[in-house]
């Protein structure tokens, strides 16, 4: 059995390496032709793939999945299409440094159940643009839709002249097999988007990895904010695809003095504040107490479904369930990340207490991910941003859409968001093509005159201290 797994892994990687070998012969134009063809085919399939994903996974809303597919195809494409990713990408006559982009080789990409087709397409586009073959491993509950997305892209890529096996998909189901492929010495990079376990497995594999894990996004509404606008923005974000984006708001924090207004505004905009009894019922179905993690059964479910599962009744048309919590952590289960339209709501006695609460929430499983602030006070925005450990702090913006980039701000559109070292990532950036190339630097001889003009004997002279050496280094010759 073990041999069989190794053999199959070897086969997949051999195909991928052959594809990589051929791919590195492509010039920028040929590469762009492939990328454009894939983008076109994937964008044309956006609705079909969205519907398939919802049908297969039972998660989210198909119209919003279309939106995600558009982000993963059109917006990603528009962002990367003019990037130089092949051969000489920059040449600086002054420094004498020329940069050459080289592909990495086979990239092992793991895609999540929450955004299956959009993540697959986005990863395919950035891999092909950088001449890297991609091996996709889908979440077991999204194999069909992810497979269909991969198939559509692959056929378009082949028709545009891409190397055979430039896109492969491994069968889901066997953990051993996935891990064998992941740890295969011929894998150049792992691009993992998913839960904590998966990301850890990627980092433990011995191969370089960009692994992006969970968030726990706090949103602070400052007294200077436009409250109705802030609430409608939060609702737009938290209801988007039933809250499946990992950058979606998880808790709203306000000061006492505006709490009543915020609460009324949420209610006016059809959100429901849970009673303490209802909170307990929702907690039971939404969070697994032992692991302090969200239950997979409520991920991407509608308010109606959640209410039904919890055995509570909410007014028709309710958009979000809000739970008023007094603390963070084990005693307050709804303070953890929940990818569903459930929001924690905190009232703090003053500004400083509110920010401290945000820090606690930020550190409860979401370090380095994203955060949001609604304020019309630049100083507070900057203070908040410096205190929160997040790769992206989005201002007066829905966090789901804002963190992903490309729509509400000029961040590179991406479905894999770096979380910095706090989230065990190497970068806090939105992952895009620049992370998938090895940049070689050709350095022409450019003498550092200051160094060569220093009388070298001075370095060997014990009587010369830093002041003398600094003078020697900086003096005009």
């Amino acid at each position: 059995m073990a041999d069989n797994i190794t053999e199959r892994a070897n086969d997949i990687l051999e195909r991928a390496v052959f594809a990589a070998a051929e791919f590195q012969e492509f010039n920028q134009e040929q590469t762009n032709t492939v990328v454009e063809a894939v983008y076109r085919a994937a964008l044309n399939a956006r609705i079909k793939l969205a519907k398939m994903a919802v049908e297969e996974t039972g998660i989210g809303i198909w119209e919003d999945k279309v939106w995600k597919n558009v982000i993963g195809t059109q917006l990603v494409y528009e962002n990367i299409k003019d990037e130089k990713t092949v051969g000489i990408i920059s040449r600086d006559a002054i420094t004498g440094i020329t940069e050459i982009a080289q592909p990495l080789g086979p990239i092992f990409a793991v895609t999540p159940v929450t955004n299956p087709t959009s993540t697959a397409i986005y990863k395919i586009l950035i891999c092909l643009k950088t001449r890297n073959p991609i091996i996709i491993s889908s979440h077991r509950n999204a194999v069909r839709s992810t497979g269909e997305a991969a198939r559509i892209c692959y056929e378009a890529a082949l028709a545009a002249g891409a190397p055979e096996d430039c896109i492969q998909m491994i069968p889901a189901g066997s953990r051993d097999f996935t891990q064998t492929v992941m740890a295969h010495p011929r894998v150049a990079l792992i691009l993992a988007t998913g839960g904590t376990g998966l990301v850890k497995a990627a980092y433990s594999s011995g191969n370089p990895a960009i692994g992006v894990g969970p968030g726990n996004v706090p949103v602070f509404i400052d007294e200077s904010a436009d409250i109705p606008y802030a609430i409608s923005s939060i609702i737009r974000s938290k209801t988007f695809d039933n809250g499946t984006v990992c950058a979606s708001e998880q808790s709203v924090i306000v000061e006492e003095k505006i709490a009543e207004n915020v609460r009324k505004e949420f209610e006016r905009q059809h959100c429901h504040f849970l009673t303490p009894e209802e909170t307990l019922k929702v907690e039971k179905i939404a969070v697994v107490k032992d692991s302090m993690s969200m239950s997979p059964f409520i991920v991407g479910q509608s308010v109606d479904t959640i209410a039904e599962k919890a055995g509570i009744s909410v007014p028709k048309g309710t958009k979000i369930l809000l739970a008023e919590l007094s603390g963070v952590g084990k005693e307050h289960l709804l303070s953890v990340e929940i990818l569903a339209p459930i929001l924690a709501f905190y009232t703090a006695k003053d500004y400083h207490s509110a920010i401290k609460l945000c820090i606690d929430l930020n550190y409860l499983g979401g370090i380095g991910h994203s955060a949001g602030i609604y304020a019309n006070n630049e100083q507070r925005v900057m203070e908040f941003s410096q205190l929160i450990n997040a790769g992206r702090i989005v201002v007066n913006t829905p966090t789901s859409q804002g963190a992903v980039g490309g729509t509400y701000n000029m961040l590179p559109p991406s479905l894999t968001l770096g979380c910095g070292t706090g989230g065990k990532n190497i970068t806090t950036e939105n992952i895009t093509v620049k992370h998938l190339i090895n940049i070689q630097r050709v350095c022409n001889r450019k003498m550092n005159d200051r160094f060569f003009n220093v009388d070298k004997d001075k370095y060997l002279d014990e009587n010369c201290d830093e002041t003398d050496l600094r003078y020697e280094y900086h003096k005009n010759h």
Partner: protein, 109 residues
Amino acid sequence: MFDFDFNPEEKQLTCTFKGRMDTVVCSQLMAELDSKYISLSENEDQDALLEFGIVFDLKEVNFISSSFIRLCMGAKKRVKDGRFSIVNSDPFIKKTFKIAGLDDILNVI
């Protein structure tokens, strides 16, 4: 440098610090805190001492050094778990404890 208040009924010590808690300040503080504590503990037995509550109030503190963190840890060890807390820290100081990984242990509020 700091105010020291003891509430005999609740057996609670409250230390209110002011200004920058840098290394130099902390080395003096350490001695002062020790002597206060010793004078207070003369009439108490060991078990009763563990039941004391210690609160560090950082309302007027704008910087803490690693020595101050050590000082907090020292104070925490004098009493039972949960009987030590830090109150009124500003968000930047709260973050300092968070990064040191002592936010929960020192019960920073």
